[in-house]
């Protein structure tokens, strides 16, 4: 601890020294690496074109394959948190869409934070060196960052340097007294309970410091919840903790904490943090996935990484010996029936605890398959409750693989591969009871917050039992309704023990044109999670507008049934150049859907944090879409907007009219790369107040570079011409109204 403090004090001193000599003025970078020092060849003297260094790495076609890498551990003094990696470059051919650089950033021993390719068109075409910024989420205080930057050819580009900037301190000098931590322990908290939170302040100097701390909690849009002010006297190198209010009065959705530290009226440091209060993580969070069972050492870092990236829910897939019959294994270690990996129970429990300790919700995976040796043993013991002649999945098996798994020969079982599973006869009430018992036992054992239970409620299959009898004797005529009843019954059984438990189902590529059936409605009801693969499964011929439409269609359908749409879209991300990637998030969030599987390495922290903070504008099931004549917004701006209008009714007659504005991708097809998307500025949007209402307030909210709201001016109370200051990928416009004759404004 002492060593760390000294290091930070030295850093503070070095940073100040650096500032003193920097021609750029205040430089918030924690570290900076001139690239020419690392490559030692192909360097050129930079002319005064905005480079920070005399020499730059001059990459030209023919040099492809040259790599600049840094794997040192100099950066352990960068604490966990949000950063921006700044790459200062000068592309020389602004029209090439071919990638010229590949950048991989790793948090050593934890995860790959980014693996992206960059084309000249991903940079600002200024003709000078420009900063390109990559949001990063560092997981651990004592981890190091390393990076590899490779030149791929295709076009010339000069690289000046790489730097790291803490997000919350952007634009400020390194403070002598610093707000080290702010907020509660957990990212997503339950409502109706105390949420202890604190501000931690450290004096990095060798002198006594008297400072003033101000912390403000903000909810909704610009609604101040509380404001705490404290005078602090800090001994040299001292750290103090300030307790913050913990009662949020049953409120849900996002909370923004904004802290400022000042000395003699001079601002020393400021920090903002977000957290959420949400009994169902779908109110605020995107959906990630991780294997927590095989890397217990790094689970805490992984948890912090997801938290920092603003992703509040993780799914653990394919860990169970059998995804149906063995969700609460008695043994200490096993090979998972579907995932074919060795799992230690204690590792899984510790990994889940680490993730939940960060206030993330953890979901298990379940399925209607009796897989692996455990599943086949269940089938053997319960032959009349098993469907033996099911074709395809749920009826495929490989005896060599079963034997390899029984022998614990993981390598051989993976070499054989394939899929080995039978199907339980879910039409049998005893099997349905087992399903509920397994879920409850698994929650007791591991502490899951929810389950993605695929193929649940399939009572339609398995009419006859092993003996050729109809079981039960009177199979339901309406299997759809029977499936829905079964799902509701299952939920009631689990909810009796765990009322906040979230159910979900991957409905595959459904987004079908036919109306949701009873089973689907039952799955979506009461905050259910509807996962969907089809939205992200666009072929090379698929286009962005199609993806946007699918996202809106699926999200609206789920909401109409009381649930939340979670679309697997990030499978597209590796195929996209940097400029295109944010659309995977922007289009989903704008539609009111959730992104799966969100991950820190996508570097889409701003979008995830925006949803966390302003989830009520995206995921309120009470909001209803406004279409056609009902849509009070009108704009001729070059933006997609017509599908993104909703209305929320708030207490006291207040209404929020919410409009998403998405800058259309510059190309039609998803498979086509495109250049840097420049923000559009000052977009006029007309809002005509519905009869009997008057406009009271309006805001523009943006996710980038970090979630923020900006109050908009308007003149008339019934028809307002609003100017949206900026639209990069996605901006949300909110207009609030009151009844015409209400006697007060908020």
């Amino acid at each position: 601890m002492i060593v760390k403090r000294i290091a930070r004090t030295l850093l503070c001193t070095c940073s100040l020294l650096s500032l003193a000599v920097s021609a750029q003025g205040a430089d918030p970078r924690l570290w900076r690496f001139p690239l020419y020092e690392l490559v030692k060849q192909n360097t050129e003297e930079s002319i005064d074109e905005g480079a920070d260094n005399v020499y730059v790495w001059a990459c030209k076609p023919g040099m492809q394959g040259e790599t600049s890498a840094n794997a040192s551990t100099l950066h352990t003094i960068a604490p966990a948190g949000g950063y921006e990696l700044v790459l200062r470059v000068k592309p020389l051919d602004f029209h090439r869409l071919d990638p010229v650089l590949r950048l991989i950033v790793r948090e050593d021993g934890v995860a790959t934070l980014a693996d992206i390719t960059l084309a000249p068109t991903d940079f600002e075409p200024s003709g000078r060196f420009v900063d390109w910024r990559l949001p990063l989420a560092k997981s651990l205080d004592d981890s190091s960052l390393s990076w590899t930057l490779s030149y791929l050819g295709h076009a010339s580009i000069s690289v000046d340097e790489m730097g790291l900037v803490p997000v919350h301190r952007q634009g400020d000098a390194w403070p002598e007294v610093e707000i080290m931590r702010l907020g509660p322990a957990g990212l997503v908290n339950n409502s109706g309970i105390a949420i202890p939170a604190e501000a931690v302040v450290t004096n990095h100097t060798l002198e006594r410091q008297s400072v003033a701390l101000s912390v403000r909690a903000e909810v909704g849009i610009d609604e101040s919840l509380w404001h705490v002010r404290r005078a602090l006297d800090l001994e040299p190198l001292d750290t103090t903790r300030v307790e913050l209010p913990s009662d949020y009065q049953g409120r849900q959705w996002g909370v923004g904490l904004h802290a400022e530290l000042s000395r003699d009226g001079q601002l020393l440091d400021r920090r903002s943090e977000l957290f959420a209060i949400a009994d169902n993580f779908n109110l605020v969070s995107q959906f990630g996935a991780a294997s927590l069972d095989n890397d217990v050492e790094h689970a805490p870092g992984l948890a912090v990484g997801y938290r920092t990236a603003g992703i509040g829910a993780l799914e653990v897939d394919f860990w169970a010996p059998c995804d149906f019959s063995r969700l609460a294994p008695a043994e200490d270690e096993w090979i998972s029936g579907q995932g074919l990996r060795r799992v230690r129970k204690v590792n899984l429990q510790q990994g889940i605890a680490a993730v939940r300790g960060q206030g993330l919700r953890v979901l298990t995976y379940g399925d209607m398959w009796l897989c692996g040796p455990a599943g086949f043993e269940w089938a053997r013991r319960h032959p009349q409750q098993t469907i033996w002649d099911h074709s395809w999945y749920g009826g495929e098996y490989d005896v060599d693989q079963l034997d390899a798994l029984r022998a614990g020969n993981l390598k051989q079982s993976r070499q054989i591969g394939g899929w080995t599973a039978l199907t339980p006869r879910l039409i049998d009430p005893a099997v349905q009871r087992l399903e509920a018992e397994q879920i409850v036992a698994s929650v007791q054992m591991f502490g899951w917050d929810g389950i993605r239970y695929d193929n649940n409620g399939l009572v339609a299959i398995g009419g006859k039992d092993l003996l050729g009898r109809d079981r039960p004797p009177d199979p339901p005529d309406d299997t759809d309704q029977a499936s829905a009843d079964m799902i509701r019954r299952l939920r009631r059984q689990v909810a009796a023990r765990y009322p906040r438990f979230v159910f979900g189902d991957n409905t595959g590529g459904r987004f079908a044109t036919k109306p949701p059936d009873a089973k689907w409605r039952a799955e979506a009801a009461d905050g259910g999670l509807i996962m969907e693969e089809g939205v992200g499964q666009l072929s090379a011929e698929g286009d962005w507008s199609e993806m946007a439409r699918r996202a809106v269609l699926t999200a609206r359908t789920a909401k109409a049934c009381g649930g939340y749409q979670v679309d697997i879209v990030t499978t597209l991300i590796p195929k996209l150049n940097w400029s295109a990637r944010p659309y995977c998030y922007a289009l989903e969030l704008a539609a009111g859907a959730h992104v799966a599987y969100a991950a820190p390495e996508h570097a889409m922290r701003p979008f995830c944090l925006f949803a966390l903070r302003y989830g009520e504008l995206l995921y309120d099931l009470g909001a209803r879409p406004l279409e056609g004549d009902e849509n009070p917004f009108q704009t001729f701006a070059a933006a997609w907007w017509k599908d993104y209008a909703t209305r929320r009714d708030l207490p006291g007659g207040r209404r929020q009219y919410i409009l998403g504005l998405v800058q259309p991708p510059p190309v039609k097809r998803v498979s086509d790369a495109f250049p840097l998307v420049k923000p559009l500025n000052n977009l006029p949007v007309r809002f005509r107040s519905p009869a009997g209402e008057r406009i009271t307030r309006a805001w523009a909210l943006e996710p980038e570079p970090q979630p923020r709201s900006q109050r908009l001016q308007f003149e008339a109370a019934t028809t307002a011409q609003l100017i949206v200051p900026r639209l990069h990928y996605w901006t949300v416009l909110v207009v609030e109204t009151l009844p015409q004759h209400a006697d007060r404004s908020p």
Partner: protein, 412 residues
């Protein structure tokens, strides 16, 4: 990773799987019916789906529709594995105008290389559903689907359902003829030794490794079942290779796991003096559709004639070894074990009961040509309660199986 998307397509069909179980003399040949459902095409928000519509004339009240407004329409591809035979695919279709020569439907039997492009004026009447048949034949198990493609134009078309009817099942001999297979003459070599164990899902319950340890070299083959059906990995590729083993043990092996050539090879092997031991379970005898193979059914000392041939013994039935088959080792402990689920099959003339349970045959010996065949009708399914011992947990079981194997392989 998720399997749901692939799983969904055939789901509706599973309810319609035929019950195989008619008397063998007049086998009720199966048929399958699929409602035609147009495949998803993304629509603008709020747009009505024009390609899946209500239609009172349709058998399920809904039909897939093609029109100028819908554009091209594809139906879901429902796949199923059909066994060799003659079939007829019947497409139930309707058009709004039967005077136009406009191509309206493209009917396909995928993997059977049969299709037909249908014009509107080939319909007898407008506004009335009409059946169009596409006959086809397959000579080996084949994954077949019957998509309907709707071709847009001024004439509107509706597709209601597709029914596949099996007209004639090809027997093993007929398939062999179609394949030009020449049955080989075979005599088990005098120096043949060892055992070939073909492992089904619960093979370990039979303790075959222990029982046949003294039989010489053991070779092994295993069942794997994929969408197109079950198959064997590691089964000898020639009769000569098969003949190196004195005994072949099929532990819960479905008929379809053996190709018709492998069945013929096995028949030649047994008739040439090889021993065959067929062990029960959820994928063998009737449940393994052995009754659909005249070769396999012909080798057995029992009659298999329907799919559902397993019964639950309630209470579990105790094994009784016939006096002639008792040996010191096989007699085992005083308390005999029980069987819980068993195949119930009739004896063929000349068959001999080695072990019975509840007064019914459980292990049956017979001869086929110069070879010997034993059918073990016990299964390793179920759980015993109380102090009973299941046969697979009975210490005397390996010894009994050794004894049976010795007889089947001609050692005794």
């Amino acid at each position: 990773m998720n399997r749901r998307a692939i799983f969904r397509a055939p789901l509706t069909l599973l309810m319609l799987l035929p019950v195989l179980g008619a008397a063998p003399a007049v086998e009720e040949l199966p048929h399958w019916t699929d409602e035609v459902e147009a495949m998803f095409r993304s629509l603008p928000l709020g747009a009505v789906d024009l390609s899946n519509v209500a239609d009172a004339d349709a058998s399920g009240g809904r039909a897939a529709k093609v029109s100028r407004q819908t554009g091209y329409v594809n139906s879901w591809h429902n796949y199923r594995t059909l066994s060799p035979g003659d079939y007829r695919a019947t497409f139930r279709l309707k058009v709004s105008d039967n005077t136009s020569p406009q191509p309206i439907f493209w009917l396909i039997v995928e993997n059977a290389n049969v299709d037909r492009r249908l014009r509107a004026n080939e319909f007898a009447a407008a506004g009335k559903y009409q059946d169009f048949d596409l006959p086809f034949s397959i000579t080996r198990p084949t994954l077949v689907s019957t998509p309907v493609r709707g071709l847009p134009g001024d004439v509107e078309g509706w597709a209601d359902r597709v029914t596949i009817t099996m007209l004639r099942r090809y027997g093993d001999r007929q398939q062999l003829r179609l394949l030009g297979y020449q049955t080989a003459k075979f005599t088990l070599p005098a120096d043949a030794s060892g055992v070939l164990l073909v492992r089904g899902v619960y093979h370990e319950f039979w303790h075959a490794d222990e029982a046949f340890k003294a039989f010489g070299p053991q070779t092994s083959s295993a069942v794997f079942a994929v969408q197109v059906g079950p198959a064997l990995r590691g089964f000898p590729e020639s009769l000569e290779a098969l003949g190196r083993s004195r005994l072949v043990v099929l532990a819960d092996v479905p008929a379809a796991a053996l190709t018709v050539q492998q069945r013929a090879m096995l028949e030649a092997y047994v008739e040439g003096g090889g021993g065959l031991l067929v062990l029960g379970g959820p994928y063998v005898f009737g449940l393994g559709d052995w009754h659909t193979s005249e070769i396999l059914a012909g080798l057995l000392p029992v009659v298999t004639e329907q799919h559902y041939d397993v019964v639950e013994c309630d209470p579990p039935q105790r094994l009784e070894i016939a006096p002639a088959w008792k040996t010191g080792q096989a007699a085992g402990p005083a308390t005999m074990p029980v069987v819980i689920f068993r195949h119930r099959l009739r004896l063929k003339p000349g068959a001999e009961v080695m072990v019975s349970a509840g007064g019914e045959p459980l292990i049956v010996a017979g001869k086929a040509g110069r070879g010997r065949v034993v059918a073990v009708l016990a299964t390793p399914l179920g759980e015993v309660a109380g102090d009973e011992t299941a046969w697979w947990d009975w210490p005397g079981w390996p010894g009994l199986l050794t004894h049976i194997g010795e007889w089947a392989s001609g050692k005794k």
